[in-house]
Symmetry: C2
Subunit: 209 residues, 2 copies
DNA sequence: TAGATTGTTAATCGATTAACAATC
DNA sequence: TAGATTGTTAATCGATTAACAATC
């Protein structure tokens, strides 16, 4: 499974495959053909077979794909079984929303700690985690027994870079960036995925008319 | 400006252009060449010229692009000057986070109302808006003097489709979907932009190793 | 005018789709 | 076996990059 060989276009479709296949699994569907799945997902059957074959031949001629098998293969490809450790930096409404409503575990991620700069928030409890002071982030990362895999950045834009750099310099392996600050332009060496609300909204206002 | 001619790949880059050009504008930069901008954004100069030329010749040979002009052209292309009306459905932590922290006005969007199903939330005030009962959404949309342009969906996944359909059937022109329910598969006829946290997180867990 | 840099055409690259032999 | 459907190669399509004449 040489990752370099798989294009980001394919990778970005994997979570969607997992979502659909998992739904089929939950519904008790046993097998599905690329044609049937294509119809549901709005892809071509060709693309589905092409995409899945980047990772292995999960199907069977004349039969299609076994839903349970494919589901577990996709889970394994996406490392959902790895149980990664994450930290949320920035416990404003967004950080709080994530901690309280988002099912991290279902994506194979466990949130180990929460940090904020506001002393009125520090020490309070959110979804079972006591919020720590952001100034202690570096010490925490260095002292933590397991490595922290994912840094989730929900701080104000103005401090996004500093927090990202602290994560990056202390062994965090990937960043999920919710600010509109563009981390890719600065010396951030780990993979970053961006959730840019503004970009999505502006793409929409363009497409309205 | 025939929109059909501009690919979605280009459109999705427009907000990023606007962000960079706006930053330059705020910093008082007067002009910029495609080469210099390319270096900052991590694009090729060729791509920038190609992209911008989908909308018009905003540059000048031997000079480059005037930042103020380009900024206002991009704002106009993205309809930031249109002042669209939006509604937020679902005032959990995420809806609340959006209403309290997100600068809609800066994207040319004005939130007109907020709706929720929880009667303990209905009637409370969030950032100057009194939360209404979701059951009244349809009546509200029909009675509202201005058309509502954008429906923002932050409800639980299980009711995402119903809310989207209500928006769609009552004149809302575009949807911003924060649930992991895939609205494109059902009879939703307006443009949809998705913010799928789970997909971003899973793309990241794939890319970690 | 000379230098810089665009707008635009042509060349390349990559991603998607079509086709079909392999095979369950 | 016959029918179905994959895995995979080849063809097409679209997007990105390179090149350069036009021109400020």
């Amino acid at each position: 499974m040489d990752k370099k060989a798989v294009s980001l276009a394919v990778v970005r479709r994997l979570p969607r495959y997992y979502r659909y296949i998992n739904d089929l699994y939950v519904d008790g569907v046993e097998r599905i053909s690329s044609t049937a799945l294509a119809e549901q997902m709005g892809f071509t059957a060709s693309q589905i077979r092409q995409d899945l074959n980047c990772f292995g031949g999960f199907g069977q001629q004349g039969y299609g794909y076994n839903v349970e098998t494919l589901r577990s293969e996709l889970a394994s490809i996406l490392n959902i079984d790895k149980n990664y450790c994450a930290i949320v930096a920035g416990i404003g409404n967004l950080g709080r929303a994530l901690l309280q409503n988002f099912n991290f575990i279902r994506s194979g991620v466990q949130v180990k700690a929460a940090f904020d700069a506001d002393l009125r928030v520090v020490g309070t409890e959110v979804n079972g985690l006591t919020v720590r002071y952001i100034g202690d982030l570096e010490d925490f990362l260095r002292a933590h027994p397991q490595p922290i895999d994912i840094g989730i950045i929900t701080v104000p834009k103005s401090v996004a870079y500093d927090v990202a750099k602290t994560f990056c310099d202390n062994g965090v392996r990937a960043l999920l960036n919710f600010t509109s600050y563009d981390l890719s332009r600065a010396g951030i060496t780990v993979p970053v995925e961006n959730v840019h609300f503004t970009d999505s909204l502006l793409t929409l206002t363009y497409r309205i008319e």
